[in-house]
Symmetry: C2
Subunit: 492 residues, 2 copies
């Protein structure tokens, strides 16, 4: 057997372990009784460890070296697969085992304290644990920087968005920071207050409508399910997608928009290349590309006048008609903008400012230029500067996100990279499919899904993000389409 | 680290893999969309293979040998744990890998064809696949016989009920076969037809009542759940028990009795020794002991007048009262006996006869004294002899059970061994707890559960089955209590 084939067999095993983990993780969030917590943690740790051992064992390193010599005989998908294998192995072997163990322990502890600290709005409770996490993440960044020959923060970024560095992110974010604060002023002056929703919207009816929209968008329920969880997410594996939602019985549109967001993730997962199901090249391209798929659906498609015209009669059918369900009023609700404190509740205009704040702060933390003790102050100051608001306490400030206690530094920028990609993809899609919006108004999403399947989903990890985007849209990533879209939507 | 400690770490990994498998198996039966089938099979095969490799690797054999030398320093639980490790490793290493692979392939194929064959009542459709399974199971039995120094059929039995052989089973079954046919005649002559149930019994109310009974019996819903599946089962892990039921809306008692049966399994799993959660010695003692726990609850407790007196008002409360809900009528329903064709629908009087038939036939198949082609004829003849009825076709004959297509030869006797143990345990329990039945009439099951916890559940696999039983009841297994109980219940 060639070294490459032997690697495929090893990575197939890893894929089965990760797939099993993904179902166990879903079960943990959706089904598991609370008393199962401890044993589930043990099971998942063991599965992760087995996958890690497969990835970091000396046989894998040796096979990778030998497979390099076979590269001439590999097809383009195989060659890309080999590169993805190497990328994963480099990240996994960069860290010594005792650092991994220390990170798991410290982040588990910090996540637990974060829940308590947030509930009591008491940052001091989290502080020592977060300091320990930061200390270890700095070690992690240093180790990865050395192994990958990157700057420390870039080495962490590379785990979420391979190949991207702060140089590019700075270039993409600078126009946003220059544009958005003034733009926000203008938008706020022009907004028309929508009619409020009347009455209550039973969960089961929201779920039924959500499933109807998912099916219309192309979600295949023989290969997935929709359930409830505290925080909506999309898990499972491509042939068995596990999506979740959360419903607010006083606000039907917030739950539906979350369903549509997760449906974007779900369609990406389900559409990954079938021939490469168990190999790294068959995986989603990156965190930012994944986010582009959910935001394209939620922000570009489902907040459009065309979609809301399609949705309005479905809402009336499900819950009885009311003035707030008119397409115009739904649109006013969908493009409502405000200077909010909470990232996950933010609209598309202010969202990048929330991200820019976090991007700045996590770089400063990592560089040692900002102490954890000074984080709440820096947060308040940044919010005032970027968004013009100041949180009353840390619960609506630095305690709102789990990312840092979880050790996820370098993740936040992906949200906004995803938003920029979504706008750029949508622009290309509209140019390629002139009848797109008319179809959406009739609930016909087939041209949308076909274009995404062909240009993004079925490409898996064959291409780097920038090449993928250039092939789909004709150019490298630029914030232009995002800003143009904002101007069109909010100032027209 | 001592060799024994190193073994504990290895078996902890296996336990996590098996625990993960158990949740994935539950998900497969209860939650998974049909399109997830193929990938789930891959995931589960990989997890099983990893566990198998841990068990059969040369390091494990070497550690086991070294740990034998450390035996003097081990406590009784550790020594028993070491013996259980050795037992598992012997079974796992007895079979060459290519035979295991061939068995998985052949039984997967045969199970699929069995479903088709049963649906069409067409044994010929299954025959070639079952012949292949039998051929491989005979190889398996021969290989295990050599490794374990047992007769071939006994070597298979040893996988379900360690230490038991056909010599003992023959001795336990002979009195049953001598007693039951005449006894059945007498019972049938004396039976009083119960009033039929009126109306329909909505699933959700049956489920709510089932959960109420489970809670009363001591099932802890912070460590488990009750769901629906095509065939009721009890899976999961001790701290996260996954029980399922199936409801018939025209017959509330059949669904409830199945819930109570599975609750017996669930209480055993949940009650296993906490200090040995991830080690072989912490596992249930055997298939037959497991069955004794479900049958003790279903047959001994829940078909008693005392229990049915407690149940009657709960049924009336849940579904509205009716004459069929009187305690006397419920008891008549509970002890209804008939010459049926189907094992899973059989009453406690005829059940052992269904088992004796299968026990005979599978021994003959394994010995090469009976060809698969002659199986339907032998089945019909055996049913006529033992039960006095003849199936119309093979659907209600040899096609009713999945065990043989699944390669599970040597499993059937455990059902009846479990029934005998249940009767013997219940006899001892009543002697030890004179107020037991009065308590049950009031819905107080605490003395029952405490006795089972102490005598069975918390013993895990510390003792062999016969020692366990002797300590709990004062004597080795005998069919006497089972037969006495039948006489008391059916001829009184």
């Amino acid at each position: 057997m060639s070294a490459y084939r032997a690697l495929e067999a090893r990575f197939k095993r890893c894929s089965d372990l990760y797939g099993a983990l993904s179902i166990l993780q879903w079960d943990h969030q959706v089904m598991m009784p609370p008393g199962g917590n401890a044993v589930r943690a043990e099971q998942m740790a063991t599965l992760r460890q087995l996958a890690h051992e497969l990835l970091t064992g000396p046989e894998t390193a040796e096979l990778l070296d030998r497979a390099e010599g076979e590269r001439a005989g590999l097809g383009p998908w195989q060659a890309a697969n080999l590169a993805e294998m190497r990328h994963r192995q480099r990240h996994a072997t960069a860290l010594p085992t005792d650092l991994i163990v220390a990170l798991v322990r410290a982040t588990t502890e910090a996540e637990m304290l974060w829940r308590e600290a947030r509930a009591r709005a008491d940052f001091a409770r989290l502080r020592p644990a977060l300091e320990e996490v930061l200390r270890l993440v700095r070690e992690e960044a240093a180790a990865k920087a050395q192994a990958l020959r990157l700057e420390p923060y870039d080495a962490l970024l590379d785990g979420y968005e391979p190949g991207v560095t702060t140089v590019e992110i700075d270039a993409w974010f600078a126009p946003l920071q220059a544009f958005l604060p003034d733009f926000l002023e203008q938008v706020l002056r022009r907004q028309i207050t929508p009619l409020p929703l009347q009455g209550s919207f039973p969960k089961d009816k929201q779920k039924a409508l959500g499933e109807r929209l998912m099916a219309a968008l192309g979600f295949d329920f023989t290969h997935g399910r929709l359930d409830e969880s505290l925080h909506p997410f999309c898990g499972g594996v491509p042939d068995d997608v596990r999506m979740t939602a959360r419903y607010d019985e006083s606000d039907v549109t917030s739950g539906l928009m979350a369903v549509l967001h997760e449906t974007g993730h779900a369609l990406y997962n389900a559409g990954l290349p079938k021939a490469w199901r168990h190999q790294p090249v068959g995986a989603p391209r990156s965190t930012a590309v994944h986010e582009s798929q959910s935001l394209l659906l939620e922000m570009q498609i489902c907040r459009s006048r065309a979609f809301l015209g399609y949705l309005a009669p479905l809402l009336a059918e499900a819950f009885g008609d009311q003035p707030a369900f008119s397409p115009d009023n739904l649109y006013r609700r969908a493009i409502r903008v405000e200077r909010g404190l909470i990232r996950v509740d933010a609209d598309e205009v202010t969202y990048p400012l929330h991200i820019i704040l976090r991007y700045r702060l996590e770089q400063a933390l990592l560089a040692g230029d900002l102490a954890v003790a000074d984080l709440p102050g820096a947060w308040h100051e940044g919010m005032r500067e970027l968004l013009g608001v100041t949180p009353q306490g840390d619960r609506e400030g630095v305690l709102q996100d789990i990312h840092w206690p979880s050790g996820a530094f370098g993740y936040f920028p992906c949200y906004t990279l995803g938003a920029l990609m979504a706008a750029q993809l949508f622009q290309a899609l509209r140019a390629a499919e002139p009848d797109l919006e008319a179809g959406i108004g009739r609930g016909d999403f087939r041209p949308l899904l076909a274009w995404l399947r062909r240009n993004i989903h079925e490409q898996g990890s064959l291409l780097g993000t920038q090449t993928l985007l250039a092939r789909a849209t004709g150019r490298a990533l630029t914030p232009r389409p995002f800003l143009e879209q904002l101007e069109r939507r909010y100032l027209a």
